[in-house]
């Protein structure tokens, strides 16, 4: 568990990068930090592993004040993906990824096996890339090596600064999914910085939205954030298309289905499971070009969803009658 209480950072020239922020990340939770460029996301992240010392406030990990800890030991237990990637230019890709396990005294063979596995995971074929140097990789490839490097030591806590920023959407979605699965399976606590609100909504258990000047504007679940932005800034940041964005977080609601009677089976090109999101439903609808899609739970057909039904579901999800744990700091 990570807890920030009144944490702030003012740079030497007087720039206030972060203003007294209170935040909590439960163990096993993935928190996304989003916000406009320059709002203090990276600064906040680096204060957690003490690459930057806060000017005010206190930071605890599992109840221990980090300022009291040996920074080296602290960081050993925290994976870190740096925004500028920062690969070691003098080491081959494989060696770069093996670095942290070796640091902690692991065996070479184990570190190597793990590194090869992780290179696969981030979509870099070890046969091609393991023996290259960083300058022989493309921008997105380098970034992925950076992610693999941070994952290699299997740290219980991970800090990631725009880990997928330079990667194309196909690979990104794959990485996001893989990473999310890994994180859930292993119960890792993660703080992930992104400027991509879609990524934040898709990946975060909670999302912290920062406003310019390092103010924490809202700290909430993705659904809550989209449904009830704490203020105009958040609403604006989440986007005028936030309704549409909800497509990807709102599940199909059986109550809003049209009855299946009178619909001939031949008219139903595609069918989706009831747990699917509205976005998937709409995509299926467009793919099959039928103006509707069947929704079932296992073998049981529950009804059909029409565009109108999607719209009603969206509207329902935006109505204020929803339970949340949102906090909107002062």
């Amino acid at each position: 568990m990570i807890r920030l209480s009144g944490v702030g950072k003012t740079y030497a020239d007087g720039t206030v990068a972060v203003q007294a922020v209170d935040l909590e990340v439960a163990a096993g939770e993935l928190l996304c930090l989003v916000g406009p460029s320059g709002c203090g996301k990276s600064t906040t992240l680096k204060m957690i592993n003490r690459l930057i010392e806060p000017t005010t406030g206190r930071i605890e990990i599992d109840g221990r004040d980090v300022t009291g800890e040996d920074p080296v030991k602290l960081r050993r237990g925290i994976g870190y993906v740096i925004q500028q990637v920062g690969l070691f230019p003098h080491q081959k890709i494989l060696t770069n990824v093996m670095t942290v396990p070796l640091l902690s005294g692991g065996s070479r063979a184990a570190a190597r096996a793990r590194a090869l596995e992780l290179l696969e995971l981030v979509g870099l074929d070890p046969a091609t890339y393991a023996d290259r140097y960083p300058h022989q990789l493309s921008g997105g490839q380098r970034q992925r090596v950076g992610v693999a490097r941070a994952l290699a030591a299997d740290p219980p806590v991970l800090l990631m600064d725009e880990p997928f920023g330079a990667v194309d959407p196909v690979v990104r979605v794959r990485l996001q999914d893989e990473f999310r699965r890994l994180q859930r399976d292993l119960g890792k606590t993660v703080v992930l910085v992104t400027h991509d609100i879609d990524e934040a909504v898709r990946m975060g258990d909670r999302v912290a939205v920062f406003a310019a000047g390092g103010r924490l504007a809202q700290h909430a679940t993705p659904a809550e954030l989209l449904a009830r932005p704490a203020d105009d800034f958040v609403a604006d940041f989440v986007g005028s298309e936030r309704g549409l964005r909800r497509l990807s977080v709102t599940p199909v609601d059986p109550a809003l289905l049209d009855p299946v009677d009178g619909v001939r089976i031949g008219d139903l090109g595609a069918a989706i499971e009831v747990g699917a999101t509205l976005e998937q439903a709409l995509a299926a609808m467009l793919r099959s070009d039928r103006g509707m899609v069947a929704v079932r739970r296992g073998p049981v057909m529950l009804g059909v969803l029409t565009p109108d039904g999607v719209h009603r579901a969206l509207r329902a999800s935006l109505s204020p009658a929803e339970d949340t744990g949102s906090t909107a700091p002062d």
């Binding site: 080296v72 942290v100 290259r132």
Partner: protein, 242 residues
């Protein structure tokens, strides 16, 4: 160009090389002197320079102090050292008369390039790489050995190479205190108006300096090949492009 033919003759004469006090013996003596002084300077200078570079402080002072050692002409330093009770002019093993004084003067002379390059090299490691190293929980020592030193190495080696060549060329001053080395051939020649011999001696010093330079460069290149692929030129390989 009378002197050049004389120099050539001197170089070709077997008697100039062989025997007691022949150039071959003097050359080996000077080589020993050079290598010893360099090793001493490395033993003292590298830890200081790299350590301070790693800590990121005190560099100005260290460089400055080592520089001061070099600001006093080496021959003056040597002349003073031999008049002192210690180190004096006592013979010191294969280093000959005033061996300790000569080694001391040459070591002081070798320090500045080693310390200056070492310090600057470590300080020039790109900050994003250092941030990554710190961020993954490297201890100071690990960061030093695994990141800073490898990245600083080319510049550090260049300093060592420079020191090597300069010490070799300067070791001829041992002749001033009746020490060993090729300096004798040169001073003898010039003081006796036997310019051919003097120039021959200087040529041998220059030739060996070049050989040392080439050997050092080859060693450096070999080390570099061990460390990185043959495609990336050293400069590209050294710098992150991102």
């Amino acid at each position: 160009m009378r002197v050049l033919t004389d120099a050539w003759d001197y170089l070709l004469a077997a008697s100039s090389w062989t025997g007691d006090g022949g150039m071959l013996e003097l050359l080996l003596q000077q080589l020993l002197l050079t290598v010893t002084a360099l090793v001493l300077a490395l033993a003292v200078g590298l830890p200081v320079a790299l350590g301070l570079g790693h800590l990121g402080r005190g560099g100005f002072l260290a460089v400055n102090i080592s520089n001061i050692g070099r600001a006093v002409p080496t021959f003056a330093l040597l002349a003073v050292l031999v008049t002192l009770d210690w180190p004096g002019y006592e013979s010191f093993g294969p280093y000959g008369r005033a061996g300790v004084a000569t080694l001391l003067a040459l070591t002081l002379f070798a320090l500045p390039p080693i310390i200056t390059n070492g310090y600057v090299a470590v300080r020039e490691v790109p900050s994003d790489v250092l941030e990554a190293a710190d961020g993954m929980g490297m201890t100071g020592a690990q960061r030093f050995w695994r990141v800073e030193l490898p990245l600083a190495l080319p510049l550090v080696l260049s300093g060592v190479r420079l020191a090597l060549v300069q010490v070799w060329a300067t070791a001829t001053i041992a002749a001033l205190v009746a020490g060993p080395g090729l300096g004798r051939v040169i001073t003898d020649g010039f003081y006796r108006s036997q310019y051919g011999q003097g120039i021959a001696g200087a040529l041998v010093v220059a030739a060996v300096a070049l050989l040392l330079e080439l050997a050092a460069a080859a060693a450096e290149r070999f080390a570099a090949r061990e460390r990185r692929d043959p495609l990336g030129t050293v400069s590209q390989g050294l710098r992150p492009a991102g």
